[in-house]
């Protein structure tokens, strides 16, 4: 069974760079290894999330798009 998401962030309608900022704030409050799910509608957020995870060492487990909503699942390092 896959690990449960500790927190879901609704970032729909927010424009760059707010999705990254809010995710950075939320991840700060999680324990190492916990998962956060982020839902965003800004198309630019895909590249931003990939780059942010690479840079910070948090692991981007999934990113999918459905009906204009981008979903990211990130594991805190």
């Amino acid at each position: 069974m896959s690990q449960a998401v500790a927190r879901t962030l609704d970032l729909k309608g927010l424009s760059c760079p707010l999705p990254i900022v809010k995710t950075a704030q939320a991840i700060k409050e999680l324990a190492s290894g916990e998962l956060v799910e982020a839902l965003a509608t800004d198309p630019g957020s895909v590249a931003d999330f990939i780059a942010w995870c690479t840079s910070t060492g948090n692991e981007l487990l999934e990113h999918t798009e459905e009906g204009g909503v981008f979903r990211f699942v990130i594991r805190k390092k």
């Binding site: 424009s15 760079p17 990254i20 700060k28 910070t56």
Partner: protein, 392 residues
């Protein structure tokens, strides 16, 4: 009886909407502007003040002198809007009735949201802040100078990039550039949120030796050790720290329970009506719209709101819509600049920095007081401004 329009806020948006309404409707309208200070500031000038290139007198004028004589001005804070009663309560106990309300109250600086920010950093987002920064820069003898933002959203998104270019030039002119490190802290992996603009400014930053720290979302400042920390767990040491403080909506919006969690007004992106309130409009920094908080935005929104209210007063269907227009100049130092023009459907396509856009910015800076609040600036630009291809 003339329609009663109350405008909260005497900034660029509020002043322009009041003047346009009074010009268009004349005797059919009674416009009252409510402003807590009665003073109108040209905020884009604050950075020049900090760099010793402008004085406070140029930047602030008496609001009364900018309004048409038939517009009333009440110098007093508004403390609460009662949408159902159609009134607004004032700080000294009085109240004003309105048929239409325009909320143009702008943003409040909220440095208290970041520990250590007030004691440990400087800003150029208020007159007092710009004056303090000017003194700090005069005392600066070289060292690590860091520029960044301490919260999102903030007014005038290009301002930190612009400031880092201008302050680098300032240090060169003072002869202390070789003793200084100049660094921009960015919340993203590029210098600026808009990618096309980052592509234009980053090579220039590299040329001038301006360092870039990416994914640095400020969490706190330690004034005693001179260290700023990020949410990402990084630390940066500084001798002089310039951070744009976090912004929030004004208290009157929060008190009236009209705003979201940060005090921004949920606003329709085309009609600029406050959601759920047909007779209340919002413009400028006070809205929750996902576009730049800037004077330029308010400047483009004001004619739409004036036109919609005028139509409603005359009993016709409002036809004017806001398309997300924003235009801003971006100084890149060495008397050069570029320009960003965009709307909901077109991303900006900033041209290579040149002397033209630096001169255009200064022409605008000098013309502001005589043309913008009065609505005298032509809607069409005298020089064509490039814009990106439609994303639709």
């Amino acid at each position: 009886m003339p329609a009663r329009v109350v405008v909260l806020g005497g900034g660029v948006g509020g002043t322009l909407v009041a003047n346009l309404l009074s010009k268009r409707l004349r005797r059919d309208v009674r416009v009252t502007v409510v402003d807590p200070t009665g003073m109108h500031a040209y905020q884009p000038g604050y950075q020049y003040l900090a760099l010793g290139q402008a004085n406070g007198r140029w930047l602030v004028r008496d609001e009364r002198t900018l309004l048409r004589t038939d517009v009333d001005l009440v110098v007093e804070p508004a403390i609460r809007v009662h949408p159902d009663a159609g009134t607004v309560q004032l700080a000294r106990g009085g109240s004003l009735d309105w048929d239409y309300l325009v909320i143009a109250t702008g943003a409040r600086l909220a440095p208290e949201l970041v520990p250590g920010l007030t004691e440990g950093s400087y800003e150029f987002y208020s007159l007092e802040g710009a004056q303090r920064l000017r003194e700090a820069l005069r005392r600066f003898r070289g060292g690590r100078l860091l520029v960044g933002v301490a919260g999102i959203p903030y007014k005038c998104p290009p301002a930190p990039v612009e400031f880092v270019f201008l302050v680098e030039e300032y240090l060169r002119r003072r002869g202390i550039r070789n003793r200084s490190e100049v660094r921009l802290l960015s919340p993203l992996n590029r210098a600026f949120t808009i990618e096309s603009a980052s592509k234009v400014v980053q090579p220039l930053m590299a040329q001038r030796g301006i360092e870039l720290t990416t994914f640095f979302n400020v969490e706190s400042v330690d004034p005693s050790s001179g260290v700023v920390s990020s949410l990402e767990g990084e630390k940066a040491e500084f001798d002089l720290l310039v951070l744009v403080p976090p912004h929030r909506g004004q208290d009157v919006v929060v008190e009236s329970r009209l705003g979201d969690a940060s005090g921004w007004l949920p606003t329709d992106r085309t009609t600029l009506q406050v959601e759920g309130h047909e007779r209340i409009f919002a413009i400028g920094d006070a809205t929750n719209l996902p576009i730049s908080k800037s004077g330029s935005t308010a400047h483009f929104e004001a004619p739409v709101v004036a036109s919609r209210i005028a139509a409603l007063v005359k009993g016709s269907a409002p036809r004017s819509n806001y398309g997300g227009n924003v235009m801003c100049f971006l100084e890149t130092g060495n008397r050069q600049g570029t320009v960003l023009r965009f709307d909901y459907e077109h991303p900006p396509a900033p041209p290579q920095p040149s002397a033209i856009w630096h001169s255009a910015k200064w022409l605008f800076n000098r013309m502001y007081w005589g043309v913008v609040p009065q609505g005298r600036l032509p809607e069409r630009m005298p020089i064509p401004v490039p814009r990106g291809r439609s994303t639709e």
